[in-house]
């Protein structure tokens, strides 16, 4: 997209926990109008980086600027109007109805948005995540995959220019995985910035504009799927021999482990 701009700029980010380096020397820009996938092996620091970028976690070193302002200078409500986060843990303490959960996504806009805007955002979020048939149910009675989609709807209803998705496809079946990633693309097409943590490299390869590959807390590579997904690099970072396929004329890599 020609009009894309830097909405998050992280420079020299370093996170230590108990003298252990979780993230080191991370420089990363998040652009509007693009899907940025964070990938890497377990424990590489993907979720930590997402926490740092979303303002949940203040790094020990380095800076994170959201829309030109240091992220920790925002009040909680100001930040909630700029970025939404789908976390991995989405349990709910009390048996709220699904529709109530989705409406909670509108709470940062209370008393500022038009009622019609609220309703439109909620309706769109419900349609986009295919949960219309669940609206009257109690969240606590849903399956894991259904809960994940309802939580995603809540995040969408927040209608923020930046959207973080931490493993949004983890609990989902094949069709809903594709649905979620297509949704991420649609958000990007609307000019929003989408940062998504995924494990499935082919899924990342198929839908991301750029991929950031993390290895032991360091950025191994950032670039288009084509640039990042080479058999050598993926094999080295994951410690597993892989082959990269391309279907037809597509530029999108498919990653397969070498099997006997």
């Amino acid at each position: 997209m020609s009009t894309s701009s830097v909405v998050i700029a992280a420079r020299g980010v370093e996170v230590r926990r108990d003298d252990r380096e979780i993230l080191a020397a991370v420089d990363l820009d998040v652009l509007s109008g693009e899907v940025l996938a964070l990938v890497g092996p377990n424990g590489a620091g993907k979720s930590t980086l997402l926490s740092v970028l979303s303002g949940d976690l203040r790094p020990n070193e380095g800076t994170v600027e959201v829309m030109g302002r240091a992220v920790h200078t925002y009040r909680a409500l100001e930040l909630a109007r700029r970025r939404a986060v789908l976390s991995q843990a989405n349990t709910v303490s009390f048996p709220f109805r699904v529709i109530e959960i989705v409406q909670m996504g509108r709470s940062p806009w209370m008393r500022s948005a038009e009622l019609a805007d609220d309703q439109r955002a909620v309706t769109e979020a419900i349609e986009a995540t295919d949960i219309t048939h669940l609206l009257g149910r109690r969240f606590t009675s849903l399956s894991g995959g259904e809960q994940a989609r309802v939580s995603l709807a809540r995040v969408l209803a927040q209608t923020t220019p930046i959207v973080f998705l931490d493993e949004p496809t983890a609990a989902l079946d094949l069709r809903h995985q594709e649905d979620v990633m297509r949704l991420a693309r649609r958000l990007a097409a609307d000019g929003r910035a989408v940062v998504v943590v995924v494990h499935d490299l082919s899924l990342a390869g198929a839908y991301a504009d750029r991929i950031a590959l993390l290895d032991h807390g360091r950025l191994d590579a950032v670039g288009t799927p084509h640039e990042v997904m080479t058999a050598d690099r993926v094999g080295r970072v994951y410690g597993l021999d892989v082959q990269i396929h391309r279907l037809g004329a597509s530029d999108r890599p498919i990653v397969l482990p070498l099997r006997d």
């Binding site: 409500l77 303490s93 009390f94 709220f96 959960i101 709470s107």
Partner: protein
Amino acid sequence: MSPRIRALALTLLLAGVLVGGIVLSAITGQLPITPTEVAGSLLRAMGIDTAWAPTDPIVESTLWVVRFPRIVMGLAVGAALAVAGAVMQAVFGNPLAEPGVVGVSSGAALGASAAIALGASVLGGPGVALFAFIGGLLATLLVYAVARAGGRTEVVTLLLTGIAVNAIAQAGIAFVLFAADTASREQIVFWQLGSLGGSRWDQVALVAAVAAVGIAISLVLARRYDLLALGERNARHLGVDVERLRLVSIVLVALLTGAAVAFVGIIAFVGLVVPHLIRMIIGPAHRGLILASAVGGGALLVVADLLTRTLVAGAELPIGMLTSLVGGPFFFWLLYRQRRRSGGWA
């Protein structure tokens, strides 16, 4: 049933119990008074003279010196306890949190006992209430610091913390009893059993004022408590200043519990039973829950107080005993259900 019909049904139910409880409480007692006399007396107080107004000054004084303050005290204390329970459950993310169960009431009772022993006559009503508030606040902070991990509280941890806090507070009360002189000792023992009897208007005014302020603040925070049900992290992502909300809520619980305990003693399980029943009828959204809990808690205590006066002829049961008698088994049932659902007490 649609949510609207449920809300309407609940409103009618609560209004029925509330009005029925108040009227029955006003007319029942050693001196029988007719409902029309009650209405007439109330109208006269509002400056409207009717033929219903009681002519006997004894009836008039029984109503205004004995029964009305007792009823209003029941309403205020019940509302405060039920709302304290609802707020506590929201903050702990656990429907089993309750001021009595986790020891906040005991902490407040320790504070109040200490105030009585030090000389309630010197400190006066507000002094006892202030000490109850401080005791409740310390207990809440203790429970909060020990029992919570990662924004949620496991049932086991919460109950064990409650046992510990209750034990410490009871030891403290025992020490106060031991150290106090005979007169205050008797006063503390009697007060500890819990009773709405002998409520005076100055005490009622204090408790009602604190309860009203506490409930109003809870209602303002209601939307944020809804978001807190998503977990602390998600609530923060939605713009809730979680640290501040927790701090305000702790003070709120201590304030409501302290006010409730200060003059009538420990009345347990109101904060557990009432919000739970309301949630079953209209769901967990906190604005409706807090409002309905306030009314329901008040109505429940007025009815419970009526029972303490009438169940045994010529004697008055301690109200705290009565609520525990009903609330205890209810608590068992909740535990049993939660255990079956989650396969354990975590």
